[in-house]
Each structure stands twice: as structure tokens, then as C-alpha cells.
């Protein structure tokens, strides 16, 4: 008889694993064996809880106690106190109460429903939480048209960035003529800072396989491909295990659940190029060609992988499919806003207290995500902007914290939803520099096939570099705008068509910052080193010579007990004197 009375779930997402969560698990198991409690307490590795800032996370059931920043050394006290004596270990709690955490209060987990709840390597765990029930119902009681009808009715839009209606995409693929069709899951996830797709695949791989099979049934495909970057080894490993298990259980393969429907899934590893997330490049890459896009139309739904009709969706899009089948289109369309339905997962990063993964209903106020869930800006600094949409998106300024998070509102600000990266910037971030950073990324990642993207973005990057070094002119700003607009219109694929966005949106919202760099030769955030000026405040200097002795050039004159001076022409702006001065007599502007 099963007498397990307690489950201890240890986060096995990449973030926590890199903070030794595997060792935490091993230590807990050792401690439990030592006390002879292995028949009472079960330790399980699970998917990402999202609260990465506080990892490694250990959650204890059934009491629902949430421990943060657990180290292998804590295993002794956790077992000795909590497991054996039933006393909650307060020093490992987040806040005062075990389960009442603001980070989770406003979240709504649909795509992440099983992350942190089940063992991703055990198909039985997935089945126990209604896994493969949706596929079963589809195969035994619904026609492909009915499935498409439900997905259309739910209002689900693609989570890979574009928000294209998923049901419509399936319908187009279903209607396309062809004896062979494909379903592709796009797990390239190239946006810097985004890790929602990785977490879903690591924490709940079966949900993606099940949804792909449902898509296969709906569009008439018998083969699925997951395109995933090789930099996600843990996700690849768990996905492969999941495929093997599903095949062994007959949930993938021939005649699934006794029906006429057969479906197989294979994995294709990508080398991590951003452009390979673009669907036509992705298909070229799967076929062994270069990761270069082609002109659309024809769209993949007509001419896709190996020139066959192909339906391609993002990981998070797939993660929403089974709940929609089980709970109905109306349930899903009741969540969110008029036009943006359901929830969205965001990867919170940058200068925010609670770095991590959050899932919220569409329509939530931007400020609520940053303050209520994200815990506000790190170190008590002031909030300046949030970057959304990654290299294709833009920066939303502090004055717009009241906007609602949905596809339309984000686009109106000049940014976009994108895949869900949210990078918070504070007063120390220079917006010109940020724009330059993103452009540098797209310049690196441009495949070079079309001229506007290959050369245009490079020219924009050169102008930005010039501005951050103090050599810009006001004319440059007009040039940036013109070039940006042209690149957007003329580029071949989405990469080039959106690459100027970070520049255009910061130009729009932070024009004065660009001006300061050009006219005053000053970086208001103090981030562009070459514009910095270090000077010694004569009244404060005590003549200790520490700065002069630390200067690597050296360019600081001064004798003991006399006021020192920095020779500006020689200064390399390294900031060492500023850090060394014991009396704060050096000013940085």
C-alpha cells in the first residue's frame, strides 16, 4: 500500500539546475534514506516554478510550503524539522507565510499549468493530470473540422510573436491540397532573455507532443518536427524521453488509441541562429540548407517543409491547445481582452527584483506586472522603461505603465508583444546604448540575403556608435529615421522588417536623450563611457594621492596635501579614481 505522505518537489529547470538544484535533490534523498523515511516521503525533480530569482526552489506537498534559495546543506534541517517534526523552516521561506507569495497571486497558469507540478520525465505524472485526454477525445469524438472550429472559436493567437490566429492557420493547412503534410513546433527561441519555450519543454514536454498530434489530426499531417536549438540540452533530453515514452504507450505512432490516425514526432537541432526562428528559414534549415528566409507568399500552409503544406506554431501556442480542447473555446475566449485572448508568458529580466517567468491574463496593466509580480526595480532605483518584443520590439517609457498588456496596446506604443521578453531598465540605462545593443544583435544575426537588412542595419549601427561616442549630429537623427523606415519596408523577412524598431521607438520616446548625446556631448544615464567626464571637486579633495597612484594612464597630477587634477585629454574614463577616492571628491558626469 502506498504510504507516501509527503512530496518534495525540487525545481529542475535550467536556471535552478545551474544553482545546484540537482545536488539539493540528492542531499534530500540521502537525508531521507538516512532516517528511513523513503517509504513516506518522495523527492521529485519537476519543471520551472518561474521564481528563478529565488532558486533553487523546493515545494513541499500536501502542506504547500514553498522554500527558496535552498542549498544542499539545508537538506538536513528540512528533513529534520519539516519532514520529521512538521515544523516549517522559516529561514528558507519567502516572506512570512508559506504559500502566500505576491509573485504568484496575480498569475494565471494555463501554458505553465504543469511546470512545477509534475515530473516531466514520467508520462504517468502527465497522464494523471488529464494528459492525453484531449487527444483521446479528439480522436474518438471530433472531426478535424470540429477541432479547427474549437481552436478558431477560442481566439488563440500565435505566441511566437505575430499573434496570427492559430485556428485559421490550421484551417488553411487543412484545406491546402497535398497527400503529405507536416506540423512543426518552433522552439528556436532566439530572443535574448526569453526562456518561456525552454521552460515549457523542460517542465511539460508531453503537453507539446499531445498538442502537435492534435494539430496533425486537424490539418491532416502524419509527421511532426520540433525545431529546437542545441543550446537547450536539458529540454532536448526531456523531449526525447517524452517521445520515447509516448511511443511506448502508443500515444504517438500508428493507429493512436485504436483510431486511423498515425503521427510521429522527430527532433531537429538548430545551431542557434536568430533568423532560423523565422519560419521559412527554419524550414530551409530542417532541409539541410542555409538558414535563409524566402519571400512569402506562398505561405508554409501551402508550400512549407519539403514543399508540402505545413502548419508551424510556437511552443507556447501549442501549450494552450489541450486546455482549450478540454475546457472549450468559450472558457478560453472569456480570458483576456476583446481582441487578445488567453494568457501570455513573460520572461522578466533586467533591473527587476523578481527575475523569472510569469503567466498573466492578457489585459493586465503593465505596471502590475512590474510592481506587483516583479517586485519593482532593483536596488530602489527609479523605473525608466521596459523593453518588450526583443530585438524586434521597442522600449515603453515610465509614463505608459498604465497600458494594458495585449497585442494591440503594445503595438500602439511602437513596441510589440513578440515572444514575451520583458527587460526592465532603470535610471542607469542609456536608451541610445540600449538601441545600439539590440541593433548590434540584429546586425550579427542578419543572414545577409537582402541588402536593406545586411547593409542598412549596419549603417544605422555605425551612426549609433558615433552618437554614443560624442561624434553625432542632429542630422544623424533624421538619417536614422529615414533609414529605419526604408529598412522596415524593403527587407525580405521579419528580421529586417523589425530590426529598426528599438531605434525608432527610443527615438520617439527618448528623443531628448539622443539630443543630449549630440548637443551637450553628455550621456544622462552615465552609461556611455566615452562621454563621461571625471573631475575633481577641489573643495572636497584632501590630497591623499590615492587616485593619482591608482590611475593606470597616469593622468592625475597632484602632490600630497594639494588638490589633484585630472588631465582630460589623457583620461581613458576607466573610473578607477572615482571608485578609489575615499572622500567622494571625484565627480562623474
Amino acid at each position: 500500500m502506498n504510504r507516501i505522505r509527503m512530496h518534495m518537489l525540487v525545481c529542475g529547470g535550467t536556471g535552478c539546475v545551474s544553482c545546484d538544484s540537482t545536488e539539493v535533490k540528492d542531499a534530500l534523498v540521502r537525508e531521507i534514506m538516512e532516517h528511513g523515511l523513503e517509504n513516506e516521503v518522495q523527492v521529485t525533480i519537476t519543471g520551472c516554478f518561474g521564481f528563478c530569482e529565488k532558486g533553487p526552489i523546493v515545494k513541499v506537498y500536501p502542506d504547500n510550503v514553498f522554500y527558496v534559495r535552498v542549498s544542499p546543506d539545508d537538506a538536513k534541517i528540512l528533513v529534520g524539522e519539516h519532514v520529521i517534526k512538521g515544523r516549517v523552516v522559516e529561514k528558507l521561506l519567502y516572506g512570512d507565510t508559506p504559500s502566500d507569495i505576491p509573485f504568484y497571486k496575480k498569475q494565471m497558469r494555463i501554458a505553465l499549468r504543469n511546470c512545477g507540478l509534475i515530473d516531466p520525465e514520467k508520462i504517468e505524472d502527465y497522464i494523471s493530470v488529464d494528459g492525453y485526454e484531449a487527444l483521446g477525445r479528439v480522436l474518438t469524438g471530433m472531426t478535424p473540422q470540429q477541432v479547427i472550429g474549437v481552436i478558431k472559436g477560442s481566439g488563440l493567437g500565435g505566441r511566437g510573436g505575430g499573434g496570427f490566429p492559430t485556428g485559421l492557420k490550421w484551417e488553411l493547412t487543412a484545406k491546402a491540397a497535398g497527400d503529405k503534410k507536416y506540423v512543426i513546433c518552433n522552439a528556436d527561441e532566439g530572443d535574448p532573455g526569453a526562456f518561456m519555450d525552454r521552460s515549457i519543454l523542460e517542465g511539460d514536454p508531453h503537453s507539446i507532443l499531445e498538442a502537435m498530434a492534435i494539430a496533425g489530426y486537424a490539418v491532416g499531417a502524419d509527421e511532426g518536427v520540433v525545431y529546437i536549438r542545441a543550446e537547450y540540452p536539458l529540454a532536448v533530453e526531456r523531449l526525447q524521453k517524452a517521445i520515447n515514452q509516448a511511443e511506448a504507450f502508443g500515444l504517438l505512432g500508428d493507429h493512436i488509441l485504436g483510431s486511423d490516425f498515425s503521427f510521429r514526432v522527430g527532433i531537429n537541432l538548430g545551431a542557434g541562429a536568430f533568423v532560423c526562428g523565422e519560419e521559412t528559414s527554419l524550414m530551409n534549415s530542417v532541409q539541410g540548407g542555409r538558414g535563409e528566409p524566402r519571400i512569402k507568399p506562398p505561405f508554409p500552409s501551402e508550400t512549407g517543409l519539403w514543399s508540402k503544406p505545413t502548419s508551424i506554431n510556437n511552443v507556447e501556442t501549442f501549450a494552450n491547445i489541450c486546455p482549450i480542447i478540454l475546457n472549450g473555446a468559450e472558457w478560453f475566449s472569456g480570458i483576456g481582452t476583446e481582441k487578445s485572448k488567453g494568457t501570455k508568458v513573460f520572461a522578466l529580466a533586467g533591473k527587476i527584483n523578481n527575475v523569472g517567468l510569469v503567466e498573466v491574463p492578457m489585459g493586465m496593466r503593465l505596471g502590475d506586472i512590474i510592481y506587483s509580480i516583479g517586485g519593482g526595480v532593483r536596488g530602489g532605483k527609479s523605473f525608466k522603461a521596459v523593453q518588450t518584443g526583443g530585438p524586434s520590439g521597442g522600449c515603453i517609457p515610465a509614463s505608459m505603465l498604465d497600458i494594458s498588456i495585449d497585442y494591440e496596446s503594445l503595438s500602439e506604443t511602437g513596441s510589440m508583444m513578440g515572444s514575451g521578453g520583458m527587460i526592465v531598465m532603470d535610471e542607469d540605462d542609456c536608451m541610445v546604448n540600449i538601441a545600439k545593443f539590440y541593433l548590434e544583435f540584429t546586425v550579427d544575426e542578419s543572414c545577409g540575403k537582402c541588402t536593406p537588412c545586411r547593409i542598412g542595419n549596419r549603417r544605422m549601427h555605425e551612426i549609433l556608435s558615433r552618437i554614443t561616442k560624442g561624434g553625432g549630429t542632429l542630422d544623424d537623427l533624421e538619417q536614422l529615421k529615414d533609414l529605419g523606415e526604408i529598412i522596415k519596408i524593403c527587407s525580405l523577412c521579419g528580421l529586417g522588417q523589425t530590426a529598426p524598431n528599438p531605434v525608432l521607438s527610443t527615438l520617439h520616446h527618448f528623443y531628448d536623450e539622443y539630443e543630449a548625446h549630440i548637443v551637450d556631448k553628455r550621456c544622462p544615464a552615465g552609461a556611455c563611457t566615452e562621454l563621461l567626464r571625471y573631475t575633481i571637486i577641489a573643495e572636497k579633495c584632501i590630497g591623499c594621492t590615492l587616485c593619482a597612484r591608482s590611475c593606470p594612464v597616469p593622468c592625475i597630477s597632484g602632490e600630497r596635501k594639494k588638490v589633484h587634477d585630472i588631465i582630460q585629454e589623457k583620461c581613458i574614463k576607466c573610473g578607477i579614481c572615482y571608485k578609489k577616492c575615499p572622500v567622494d571628491a571625484i565627480e562623474r558626469k
Binding site: R5, M6, P62, G86, L117, S128, V129, E133, L257
Partner: protein
Amino acid sequence: MSGTKIKTLDELRKIRERSKAGTKLRLTGESGNRVTISVGMATCGIAAGARAVMGALIDSINENNLENVAVVATGCLGYCYAEPLVVVTVPEEKPVHYANVDEDLARKIIELHVIGGEIIGNSQLITDGLT
């Protein structure tokens, strides 16, 4: 892993029922309105046989297929003379303390109190005046 393939939706559902034993504790923990049964598991409780009591509670919950009942260990409640001590907390109701619980009473607590909703009067710890 079993090599036998699932051939019908019914078979899948049967496997689901069996697999639920593996994740039930977690789902119970997530549920807001669960019945919590605390067993005093400090030194005094364990010495008096709390471990066997806890086992009997868990067995009985599993046998009766109860979904929303969580058994948790708790520290010393201060009534060492009355151990093993079991506290049943039904949402929105006052906690009920049972004293000197043995395996037999543990099963009755599940069957009469948790399922039947009837407090077993003569086994209650007198807590009037104490908090």
C-alpha cells in the same frame, strides 16, 4: 515503463486513475478548500505511536479515494499526556482535537468525521480555556 500500448480512450482513463496516486498529494496541496489532518510528530508523539497513526490515516484516505484531504506532520502542541494527537481542520470550521489516537480511532476519524461530518465526541481533547 510498460511496453503495452494503450489502445482505447478507456484504457487511457484507467491508467489515469492508477497514476493519480502518484500526484494526488500535490493536487490536494494546491486545492484551496482541503481538509487538513495534523498529526503531532514531535518526540512525544512519535514515542506514543504517532507514526502508525499517520500510516492508518493515509491508508484510510487512499482506500476511500478521498481527494481533498491532506495529512501533515506537526510539531509538539503541548499536550504531551494526550499523544498521539490528531487535529482535523475542515475549511470554515473550528479545528477538532482528538487525544490518545490509535490506528483504530484514526480510521474512525476518516470514516465518521471526515466523510460523515460527525465529530467523535468522546475522543475529543478538552481544550476549553486553552488556545
